[in-house]
Each structure stands twice: as structure tokens, then as C-alpha cells.
Amino acid sequence: MPNKAAANAAIEETKGLGMKLPILGAAVLAAAMTLAAGHLTAQAPPLDDSEKEIERYRQMLSDPFSNPGFLAVDRGEVLWSEKRGTKSASLEACDLGEGPGKLDGAFAKLPRYFADADRVMDTEQRLLWCMDKLQGLDTKDVLARRFSGPGRASDLEDLTAFIANKSSGMKIEPQLKHAKELEMAAVGEELFYRRGGVMDFSCATCHADEGKRIRLQGLPNLSVPGPAAQATMASWPTYRVSQSALRTMQHRLWDCYRQQRWPVPDYGSDALTALTMFLQKQAAGGEIAVPSIKR
């Protein structure tokens, strides 16, 4: 986004950021900004004012200590070991693919095939499975809170943030061995190109060319494997500043289908897992750094 307009947009974002981080004290924010400014002075060539604003914004976005997404990670950690449900059990025996309770690197390989369920599942689907089978937890209530809002925490967002964070620094490793995994990826690819809705849109309408944007929002090209797909998939879950909430891929795809003018996609359903599988395939090798923080 090379133009002045983009610069202005980023400045707006910066203002928004300042206003929308109620969790952080002004002092912490000021410190983060000072830090960012310090970094700037070391840079050549000199930047004009709007470029400086963008750079400062970027710095803030990449500072883990000013990322409220880590609060979701902490909440998720508590939920993971909390005894809940009719069985008064924790999730600690939940097998996310690497063995019961083994979290390191599990997220990097999801979605994947689970023999006990005879299905391919993504993180959220697997969590729901474990809540039901291991804890006897009311997943209706959990699903009602699938997306957090003001005064409403989401167990699924918090737990996914916690689990995903345990793969930070690792590489995305799509599982494409089992026949059902291969089918997931192949169907996901077809769905990526399937047009429909009153606008005739598919994912490919918005994500199959280099350097395109809608209004001022840059659109990653996810139709080819490589850096754009890697950077995208390696950055979810993310803290969305514009929504003051941590969001997972389930929410991103929900929002994209909304923009696509399709019906509401069912949470944790197979087309979403298929798309996620396809996108993970495009993103293979991308180095996970989550939760990230975005617009």
C-alpha cells in the first residue's frame, strides 16, 4: 500500500489503537511508543511524518508486551487445567494429535485425522470433542460464546490461543497422509474457487492475485503456496485491535463468508476445516508467531 491514503489509514489505525487498549495503562503505552521512536532514530534514510506514523504503528503491533492477545493465552491456560463438566475433569488428557496432554507443536499440525472420532478436525472441533467426551461439559453454552464480545469471554478463543502459542516458533506442518486428510485439502481447494451468493464471490475473487486491495485493505494471495500464505496462516490466532478481541481462523472465515455474501457458516463445520486444511497446505513451512496483533 504505497500511497498517501494508506498512510492516513494507518494513522487512523494508530489513533484507534491508543483508544482501544483499555487493558493497558497509558504509561505502558507511552513506554511502548517511546521504545518504537527510539528504534526509529536508528534508521536511515529519514522518514516523513506519515511514514513515521506507520513505522510506529508497526512497532507497536509487534511488541508482545502491548499485545492483549496474551491475556487470552493466560485465560486459556487456566481453562485447560480447570476441572469442569459433569465428569469434573480437566482438559489435560485431551489428545490434540501428539498424544494426551501433549501441546508442544500440536497446533502446527492441525487440522489432522483423529482415529477415535474417525474424522479430520481443527483445533476448535477437537476442543469441543474433548469437552464433550472427557469433561461432559455443556458445549451448547460453549458454542453460544464461540466469539467473545464485550463482557463475554470465549473459552474456544482462549483455549485456542493457549494451544496455538505452544507452537510459536515452529513451522506449519500440514498433515496430508490419511485419505480423509487428503480429501479435506482437495475439497478446501475446490471451495476456495466456488462462487456464489448475490455478488458471485468466491475466496479467489479476493485472494487469488498479487498486490490487490479492497478499498485500502491489502488482500493476501492465498491461491499459491508461499510467503503470503505462510505469513497469513502463521499469524492466527490474532488479537484484532478493531474488534478488541482475540480471534481464531473460525472467526476469520466467518467474516470472509459474510463479505462473500454467503449464509452464516456453521461453527466448527467441515467446509471451514477443509478451507483451513487447504490454507495450511499453502502455508507449509511458515513460522508460527502467535498470538499476533492486527488491525
Binding site: 511488541d63 475439497v187 466456488r194 458471485d200 478499498r215 455474501r261 507449509a284
Partner: protein, 204 residues
């Protein structure tokens, strides 16, 4: 709190893990079963919206790169779906047309009932060169009418394009605004005036 620091994304190692075996294209029935699993609870009206018509089914099958015979069939079929104004007047009011071009609402499941849909042209096109917030999925339409010397044939072609983009370019990525009932005839005439009125900012 021990956390890994935010890591700058390493954009290398493209090939690692990407060596998945080639997979046969899944059957249409398999694809449809996934669509049903995810969207099956939607109302019949919403279901109908995502059931591709004949042209869109061909575009889906070929990922928009339809063979030429298919392309001709699409143009013929879609052209027949274009409705022209009874009084033959194609140009409306450019000021109203700006509103249509600038409005991105409508058709989303989050829209309240009765939402007036816009054409969202700015999402994909540059129009008024003074407007900085525009997208690039479509070509720039700045000075569109002026560049075409306000030629009646160009006006008719653009009307057709907006009413049904595929009547001009098969499998166009642009919505078929009239045919899919996103915009009504008056809105299309107004947005056309936004492109072709000499007083419109598009031509200034």
C-alpha cells in the same frame, strides 16, 4: 509470564512440507456434502443464493478460464438476462449514483432486513480521482465517460456491464448487479450517470 518474543516471520523454506501427493479432484457430490454440512441450516432463500446457475457452474468448473465455446454460451445466456429501461433513457442522476457507488452494504448475513444494497464500486475501482480510498480488483474508471467522449454505444455497453458483467466478459469477477437483483434499474441508471455525466467528479 514466560513467552516467546514476537518473532519476525521468516519467509523462506517454501518447500518444506509442501510435497503433498496430488489428489484427484473430489466429486461434485463430495463437495456439495461439505457445503451442506456448513451451510445446510440456512433458509431456502439463502440456499438458493449459493446454488450456482448454469453460467456460474461452468465458471466454477473451469475456475473462470472457460473454453471458448463455453464462453460464447455464457455471453449469449447472460445477455438474455439484461433488462433495458422501457423508455430507453439510460442515464439517471450522478449524485444519487455516487451514493450507490460508495455504499458497500447489503447482502451480508449481518445486514438488518430491508437494508438498501449498494454497488460498492469503490471496493474494486478507482472512480472519482480525488477519492483516495478505492480498491484495485477492477480497472480504474477515472474519466470513464470523458475518455469515451460520452459515446452512446459506450453508455449502452457500460449499462450492460453493470446489469450483467458476464454478458460482456464471461466469468467476470464483477458482480451481476441487475440480474442478481442487487441493484434496481434506477440505481443502475444513477451509477451510469456517475460514470458518464460530464458534471460527475469521475470526469473532472
Amino acid at each position: 509470564m514466560t513467552r516467546l518474543p514476537f518473532i519476525t516471520l521468516a519467509l523462506a523454506s517454501l518447500l518444506a512440507g509442501a510435497a503433498a501427493q496430488a489428489q484427484d479432484k473430489p466429486s461434485q457430490a463430495t463437495i456439495d456434502s461439505y457445503v451442506k454440512a456448513t451451510f445446510g441450516k440456512a433458509s431456502p432463500e439463502w440456499q438458493a443464493r449459493i446454488t450456482p446457475d448454469e453460467s456460474l457452474a461452468a465458471c466454477n468448473l473451469h475456475r473462470n478460464a472457460v473454453p471458448s465455446a463455453e464462453a460464447d454460451a455464457i455471453i449469449k445466456r447472460e445477455l438474455a438476462k439484461v433488462g433495458f429501461p422501457a423508455d430507453g433513457k439510460l442515464l439517471g442522476n450522478w449524485k444519487e449514483g455516487y451514493k450507490v457507488a460508495n455504499n458497500g452494504r447489503g447482502g451480508q448475513f449481518s445486514d438488518p432486513p430491508g437494508t438498501v444494497a449498494g454497488g460498492n464500486c469503490f471496493a474494486c475501482h478507482q472512480l472519482d480521482p480525488k477519492e483516495v480510498s478505492y480498491g484495485t480488483l477492477g480497472p480504474s474508471l477515472a474519466a470513464y465517460g470523458k475518455d469515451r467522449k460520452y459515446d452512446p454505444d459506450a453508455i449502452k455497453e457500460a449499462y450492460t456491464k453493470i446489469y450483467n458483467s458476464m454478458a460482456v466478459v464471461p466469468c467476470s469477477n464483477m458482480p451481476r448487479f441487475g440480474t442478481n437483483k442487487v441493484l434496481d434499474e434506477q440505481q443502475i441508471k444513477d451509477v451510469l450517470a456517475y460514470l458518464f455525466d460530464p458534471e460527475s467528479p469521475v470526469n473532472k
